[in-house]
Amino acid sequence: MFVKSLLENPPHTSYEGEDKDEVILYVLRQSVWTNVGWIIGATLLVFVPFFVLPLLPDFITVNLKLTMIMFWYLVLFGYTFQRFINWFFNVYIISNKKIIDVDFHGILYKNISEASLSSIEDVTSVVKGAMGVTFNIGDVLIQTAGESREFDFEGVDNPSKVRDIISDLVSQHKRKKQ
């Protein structure tokens, strides 16, 4: 599903640098609820021209008003689309070999980090704040061995379940290796 935040065995999904024998088991995104703020904001902004246009001075011609309206809705659409792809592509991937954190902010920053399942030492889930407790949204912190790197899956739905999934995969992977 397009707006699901936890996808199990997602079809036709791959990532840059995926191994041939690698299978994506889960794709996680931030909870849909984390988008509520900007969706409400964008919805309210739709109505701004109805209130602002009557207040404009007389020297603003009809053509100029038309131009302003077109540009306003274009920018609003661009903002909405930008926020959506920001959410859509900020993913946490759990495969049978690795965990991958794809981060990108705005239009000029992209960061992809990964860690093998065998290097994961500790998985912790945290639920905090009114929204977190109400909608069961939280962070999953993953500590890897050897270095001080820590993966942070922020604002995911049902963080306890995610922690459990990762822990099970890690122990499964470590058992296989022994």
Binding site: T13, T67, F77, K110
Partner: protein
């Protein structure tokens, strides 16, 4: 009468200035929307999903519409 002419010219100048400002913003917005198309392409390369085509289509339409709005604004201006 001279005062009226001066104030009329000033008002026309204001309208002209605002129109010109909007045109500049619209031109900058075209660059932004182009960057979004590149970004969507790049991100689809990094993380491929079944929705790649739809997202690229929306990004391209957005880019074309931003050019269309700019051209229309020049014509209206």
């Amino acid at each position: 009468m001279i005062t009226n002419i001066i104030s009329l010219t000033l008002i026309q100048d204001y309208a002209y200035f605002i129109g010109f400002l909007i045109l500049i913003l619209e031109f900058l917005y075209i660059i932004f929307s182009f960057l979004i198309t590149r970004q969507v392409k790049l991100l689809n390369g990094s993380f491929n999903t079944p929705y790649e085509g739809k997202l690229r289509f929306i990004a391209n339409i957005h880019f074309l519409v931003s050019i269309g709005v700019f051209i229309l604004s020049v014509l209206l201006f």
